[in-house]
């Protein structure tokens, strides 16, 4: 649906290379982001996801290639001239200004009349559920509230692309969940294009239209959350996204999700035989680890189905065919 609306990409990264003095960096990056999409760059720290985001924002110069927004190159523009807005992980707001001044700063620079600034800020504070906080200083607000204001500040500039650099990583798990939900509501309401960076695969799965899984400066896979989860392109992706068993077989290594493995008491006709090692109740489901030869296989079972099992019981495991990988394909991916 998203792609049908706009055929031309909003943001294009074309064969972009950014190398640091020490040789680290990202090479030959190509990515198209369409109007109204949330695209998430996902990967461990040091994989280059933040580097790409900062080249889009203009905080880093690119070594070669190009970055365009609406077909116009922005690669040579300083950050203040780019139609992007960034939400940082922390230290977002200026502590010496109250919320209103924080929000009005960019609008004043754009020579927008005072009464219009006031009206827009009012509207935006309502959108991020922070109405009435105009006079507060950043230090008087919680981390989640500060991030709402930071998002409001970015949205007020009506950016072509909203950039978010691990915006919720510094927040408590509960608040983080709320913020994700809020972000999705706001994004749907405004139809804004978002490039999001996170190391949290759960967060990426939750909010994205498309996920770019990165590893050591390279795109391992680009796809929708279900594609990345159900059809991991590389062993790295299979391992990084969600829980995964890597079962050694004669042909190679078979990647099977714990929820796709069924467990039966006794020596049945399942593919694998083993003994129950641990049983952990994790809320609405139960994690049962089974020792099979020298491997431990993880399975997720519904609460109502585990009670007949005990530690040390002989069980048989069965599963539908998983994704096969070569024995020699390293977990580190292609690089």
């Amino acid at each position: 649906m998203v792609k049908e609306q706009a055929l031309d990409p909003k943001l294009r990264i074309i064969d972009m290379t950014k190398l640091y003095d020490n040789g680290d960096g990202v090479r030959n990056i190509n990515l198209d982001v369409y109007q109204g999409e949330i695209v998430t760059m996902l990967g461990p720290s040091g994989c280059g996801k933040t580097t790409i985001l900062r080249t889009i924002a203009g905080f880093l110069d690119i070594t070669s290639g190009d970055i365009t927004i609406n077909g116009q190159s922005i690669a040579m523009l300083p950050p203040e001239k780019r139609p992007t807005a960034m939400v940082f992980q922390s230290y977002n707001l200026w502590p010496h200004m109250p919320v209103y001044e924080n929000l009005a700063f960019g609008l004043k620079l754009r020579k927008i009349p005072k009464n219009e600034i006031a009206a827009r800020i009012d509207e935006m504070l309502n959108l991020v559920s922070m109405a009435g906080s105009e006079k507060k200083y950043p230090a008087q607000m919680s981390g989640g509230q500060q991030q709402r204001i930071a998002i409001a500040r970015s949205l007020l500039l009506q950016p072509e692309v909203l950039l978010m650099d691990e915006p919720f990583s510094a927040l408590d798990a509960k608040i983080r969940g709320q913020m994700r939900e809020e972000l999705m509501r706001i994004q749907t309401q405004l139809g804004i294009t978002v490039v999001f960076v996170t190391h949290d695969q759960e967060e990426a799965m939750a909010i994205s239209h498309r996920i770019v899984v990165m590893n050591k400066g390279v795109f391992e896979q680009v796809g929708s959350p279900t594609e990345v989860y159900d059809k991991p392109g590389t062993r790295y992706v299979a391992d990084f996204i969600g829980e995964m068993n890597f079962i050694k077989t004669d042909d190679g290594i078979e990647a099977v999700r714990p929820e796709n493995i069924s467990i039966l008491k006794g020596e049945g006709r399942g593919r694998l035989q083993g003994k129950v090692r641990t049983i952990m109740v994790l809320g609405h489901f139960v994690e049962i680890n089974v020792q099979v030869g020298d491997q431990v296989i993880k399975t997720f079972v519904q609460r109502d189905k585990y009670q007949q099992l005990g530690i040390g019981d002989t069980v048989s495991l069965d599963y539908t065919a998983g994704r096969m990988f070569q024995h020699n394909e390293s977990i580190g991916g292609k690089v």
Partner: protein
């Protein structure tokens, strides 16, 4: 209660460590406030003959003497003008340097930071003499600029070190956020970086101002007779062996300092100063 004033009883009552702490404090207080109270006594003495412990007569005679000196008003003015000019000029020169030192990690950075201490490590009089020789060649002897430069040499360390610390403490993301919403580098500096670093800059300015108010040696060498600041006049009076007038003078010189420190006490604390001496 008064039995604790007996050293032996005190020692036994509070224990060895506390006793020595107390002793140290007593010695410190004596060293710190002793000269000051002596100064106060001298300033209000009218008749004080050796070997009396306390002056025979108290009064305002020497205050009258000092305040009616013709050069007095001009010295006060000159001191203030030199202090203000020195502070303003150091801010102008040192703040960009401090920002550069805080933001750019170039090789030899520590050495540059360290070099600002060197002027304070040398014996001043030797430094001033060699500067004096240069001044003659450059025609700076006895000029306003010449005196200001001498004052700046003394205060440069504060003006570079402390603001460098404050600038380092301004998070880069706060500057980036300003660039991101459309502010250019200069506006970002004025609107975001400078206000956030202001406490440290205020401390450095106070030290510079006070340092300049207090400077005598260098001014004496390169400024006299064209310029006579308060500390220089003080030297002249002491040279005349007028102890009471000197005491009055000294007290008068303390007044602006105390006022300044009270006004800005919020900024002048161990933390603010310490942040400037953190070499990162």
């Amino acid at each position: 209660m008064f039995s604790l004033l007996n050293p032996r009883k005190h020692y036994l009552a509070v224990g060895r460590k506390k006793f020595f702490d107390f002793l140290m404090l007593a010695v410190f207080l004596l060293f710190f406030y002793g000269p000051l109270s002596n100064l106060l006594m001298l300033a209000f003495a009218e008749l004080y003959n050796y070997p009396d412990l306390i002056p025979a007569k108290f009064g305002f005679r020497w205050w009258q003497f000092v305040l009616t000196q013709k050069t007095m008003i001009s010295a006060v003015w000159q001191s203030f003008i030199f202090a203000l000019t020195t502070t303003a000029l150091s801010l102008f020169i040192c703040l960009p340097a401090a920002y550069g030192l805080a933001r750019y990690k170039f090789p030899g950075r520590r050495l540059v930071m360290f070099s600002f201490m060197l002027t304070n490590a040398f014996p001043k009089i030797g430094l001033y003499t060699s500067i004096g020789i240069m001044y003659y060649k450059l025609g700076l002897m006895g000029t306003f600029l010449g005196v200001v430069i001498i004052h700046m040499i003394n205060t440069m360390m504060f003006m570079v070190w402390i603001p460098t610390g404050s600038f380092s403490n301004v998070h880069r993301q706060q500057e980036e956020a300003a660039r991101d919403v459309g502010a250019g580098p200069f506006r970002t500096f004025i609107k975001v970086t400078l206000p956030l670093a202001m406490p440290g800059i205020a401390v450095a300015s106070i030290y510079t101002f006070l340092g300049s108010m207090d400077e005598a040696q260098g001014t004496l060498l390169v400024g006299v007779p064209q310029f006579q600041t308060m500390p220089v006049m003080m030297y002249t009076i002491i040279a005349d062996y007028n102890v009471m007038a000197a005491a009055v003078y000294a007290l008068m010189m303390i007044i602006p300092t105390v006022i300044l420190l009270i006004l800005l006490r919020r900024y002048v604390g161990p933390d603010a100063i310490a942040s400037g001496f953190k070499l990162k």
